[in-house]
């Protein structure tokens, strides 16, 4: 989106224009949903809706360009995911969860990866540590910088850089040793 066009869209969204929200949603919903699913969100679509409600609540005070808006939305998604995990960790295991193979939080991420189908590269991400997955997904899908991710995750920039480096190194090892088709 062009800067002027983005500015007009945000202003219209602040005033509640449905067309503006439809546009913003179209640009970001797919990557945000992909991030949530890749990170093991149980009800990813509901969570996506909550992310956009949160964006709507605070859009009145947003100032920035399209890139910073995208980063902001992914930051909200990151925190909502953590909230959902905390909520789930307090709930008892339901029979449906056991039937689907998702125990008390243990295989949820694997299940999320299975739900994504046969996307081989995304399955590769499932073999990284949670921290490496988060950093790479926020960088690849959310376009967040190292400093933004550090601020969001509450880590030092050096630590985030290390997670990124090790994550990419691990991907390289898997691709080279197992010959994953690209």
């Amino acid at each position: 989106m062009e800067p002027a066009e983005f500015r007009a869209t945000v202003e219209a969204a602040q005033a509640g224009a449905e067309w503006a929200w439809s546009r913003l949603y179209r640009d970001l919903a797919g990557p945000v949903l992909g991030y949530l699913k890749s990170r093991g969100a149980v009800e990813a679509e509901d969570l996506l809706g909550e992310v956009f409600v949160q964006v709507a609540r605070n859009i009145g005070s947003f100032r920035g360009d399209a890139r910073s808006f995208r980063s902001w939305v992914f930051t909200i998604a990151y925190h909502r995911l953590i909230d959902e995990r905390r909520y789930r960790s307090r709930r008892p295991v339901e029979p449906n969860d056991i039937d689907r193979g998702g125990g008390p939080g243990g295989d949820v991420e694997q299940e999320a990866l299975q739900n994504l189908g046969t996307e081989s590269t995304v399955k590769l991400l499932g073999r990284l540590t949670p921290g490496q997955q988060t950093v790479l997904l926020l960088r690849l899908l959310g376009d967040l910088t190292i400093d933004e991710i550090a601020h969001t995750m509450g880590k030092r920039p050096g630590a985030v850089k290390a997670l990124q480096r090790r994550g990419l190194e691990r991907l390289r090892e898997i691709i080279e040793t197992e010959g994953v088709p690209l």
């Binding site: 602040q14 949603y25 990557p31 964006v55 930051t75 997904l137």
Partner: protein
Amino acid sequence: MKDFEPLSDKNVEALLADRETPGLEAWAGVIKRIRQEATASVDPETAGTHVLRAAQTAVSLPVPSPVPSRRSPATWRRRTVFAGLFSTLIGKIVIGTAAVAAATAGVGASNILPDSVDNFIERNFVGEDELDQVETQIRERARIRIELESDEAQTQTQNQQGQDLEGQQNQNQQGPDLEGQQNQNQQGQDLEGQQNQNQQGQDLEGQQNQTQMQTQSDEQSQTQTQTHSGDTNQNRIQQGDQAQLHQGS
């Protein structure tokens, strides 16, 4: 496979920014595929619901901002929607009105306005129609807020009346209960008093009987004593007589 060379930080930044990276085409391909495959599709009906909810939330009344977490003290999370709303809309109306007045008076045309105001107008003022629309929205929101405040006040009044009524009912209930209690106490006292009287009556009667019996007993004793005394005196007289008889011989 030797296509995947170890990446430096600089190369990573270039790849993520979709910049040209000679010799790293394999990496570029992986990153591109991750981005494509990780992007999920949303059900159209769900998407429509989300959009509608977001649009409605954006124009709903301001809600208090959540307590900022320690992890993310970003400035935008601290600001309230209310403050943001007013800073955007009221600011537009004020500046917009001033700009229209200034333009009419020719002040704006002659570039007398300060640069900062000019910049703000250029950045934010989009036209009179837009201004009217914004003004209408503000009036509507104010009306909704007044209605909500009125409803809230009415609810509070009803609650207070309900509490008063409940308090009154409790007192009324306590009244009969208390009255009933008093009656019972009185009956109990009466009964007790009656029992005491009966007992006293019995005691008195018993005592009278005892007194009567004692009196009878005393009378009998007195009679016996008199009899005995009379006998004794008679004996003395007889002894006296005999003594005189002896002296006379």
